[in-house]
Symmetry: C2
Subunit: 312 residues, 2 copies
């Protein structure tokens, strides 16, 4: 449980500037991206190392925010004269569905992750949602097989980069996707069958992200199913990044423990994922995670535990 090097957690993914429109409000220049959200969520739990790319337009304060959360940003490349990946989206009234209004890949188009030497022995790796070919590049650069590898992906890659994705999956312990993606990847309607099928592809553990319904874990043992609810939120400001923050809380806890994917670790990690996601959606960008007090996080964890407790 001590912060030895074996608690390190490396994340590779997107770093972005979003333009978010919700029914209630709007924010241009909202710092986002899967690796950013992941890092801000995991930062309080374990020493995070971030690999990503930004342009010169990426705000310096955002880099400081990451550093303040204990994130090592030596792997965050800045392209001289380049622009950061930008995404513009509008949420529907229900705050779940959203339309992409615009995507500018910018410097992300030619992103080729380069791991600093010191990251190559890291024991916990999270491959956030980027092209499977880039995820393969990261795995190839690692000095040894990390103890725990987690993976996020999306419908697009299942669709157009399936072979690469299947190659990544062979080297992964945990896959975190949503129900739709699980069905698409496995060809199975039933989540049980989907979990069995995903397990046959490589990952021992499947996590199904269910948004406001929480998340479900299908662990290494056939019978090891666990369900965590989402904390009810008085006012959802912006759901962007909730899944990444879930992954950050989850992997952050696993790295903090440093003892792999035991049942105890997996279940508590699900709670930490849910807790970090709950903060995320209460504000735009990672506003609610910046400068967050450890006591606030612990308090919410206890609230979630109470929400799940079954008195006998």
């Amino acid at each position: 449980m001590s912060n030895t090097s074996s608690n390190n957690l490396l994340v590779v993914g997107s770093v972005a500037i979003d333009w978010i429109i919700t029914p209630a409000a709007e924010r241009q220049e909202s710092v986002g991206g899967s690796a950013t959200y992941f890092s801000m969520a995991a930062g309080g739990l374990a020493p995070v190392q971030l690999v990503g790319v930004v342009g010169e337009d990426f705000p310096r304060e955002a880099v400081r925010d990451l550093e303040d959360r204990g994130v090592d940003v030596d792997g965050l490349e800045t392209i001289a004269g380049g622009l950061t990946f930008r995404w513009k989206g509008r949420y529907h009234e229900n705050m779940n569905d959203r339309d992409t209004l615009e995507t500018q890949l910018n410097c992300f188009e030619h992103f080729s992750p380069k791991l600093p030497e010191k990251y190559k022995q890291t024991d916990h790796l999270f491959l956030a949602n980027i092209q499977p070919s880039l995820q393969l590049e990261v795995l190839a650069q690692m000095g040894r097989r990390p103890m725990v590898v987690g993976l996020d992906t999306m419908n697009l890659w299942i669709d157009i980069a399936r072979d690469d994705l299947l190659n990544v999956l062979k080297q992964v312990d945990i896959l975190m996707i949503n129900e739709e993606e699980a069905r698409q990847l496995s060809g199975e309607d039933n989540l049980f069958d989907a979990a069995r099928s995903v397990r046959a592809l490589g990952p021992s553990t499947l996590i199904i992200k269910r948004g406001e319904y929480g998340a479900m874990l299908f662990g290494p043992n056939e019978d090891d199913i666990f369900s965590v609810p989402a904390l009810p939120i008085a006012q959802v400001a912006d759901p962007t990044g909730a899944g990444d923050c879930f992954a950050g809380g989850f992997m952050g806890y696993i790295a903090k423990q440093g003892s792999g994917l035991t049942t105890v670790n997996l279940r508590n990690a699900m709670l930490w994922g849910s807790v970090m996601a709950s903060f995320c959606v209460e504000g735009f960008s990672y506003d609610q995670l910046r400068g967050i007090e450890e006591s606030a996080v612990a308090g919410r964890f206890e609230r979630l535990v109470r929400m799940c407790e079954i008195p006998r």
Copy 2:
């Protein structure tokens, strides 16, 4: 915990013959109705009394099935020369959405619940989903205010019989509805706000049924939120009646305890609801509940508990 009269559980609702079409199979003459499903689920837990109406076409075996589950059917009226309420529906590929193809009210059109004398002192009452004016009639016939009154309703009544429904709600402890209905009734998008608003209408407790996502409890205390997952089912045969079986398991456990709506009772009742719903959807009609072994039910309850357990 003994089966004294204070454990009795009265349900008033529909008794029906359904024609169910799923993507995989079809059953005509599938015995259904909210009170039937409720009774078959609650029967193993508490002595159930059923008030409903059927025609001469209602199968005798179904009445025996109810009696075999310990259900008192003295309140089940048979209309001479009448036909039973019939519903025909088709489920979509996802097994959640469904279209009503046909509804024949038949003897249900002029249903006026008549409580046998011996039911009027019953301590636990569930008003299954029927017209609010009939639910009011039932409440008026009770000899005294039952210790616990539960209520189900639907979008139609919220829409066209709101005043009657509001009158019923004033006399109710627990409201069980789905998310859409909670929003429609309360005018609140957020479930927190919906729960607060529902509480102001009468019920101390709100249960949001979420189908394959389980159910959520907003208890008498503002902070008392509990979430129960649905048990993952290898093969959903027919979702019809799942909500009614949830209500049956829930109210059956509350009646069995006979000690009202304590936090311990409410949370365990949520689990029993989830367990009974899981059996329901595995077969057509109440097939899986007929002749069910107590050990099978207990085994699934333990499985659900394990699914929720947070090892520390």
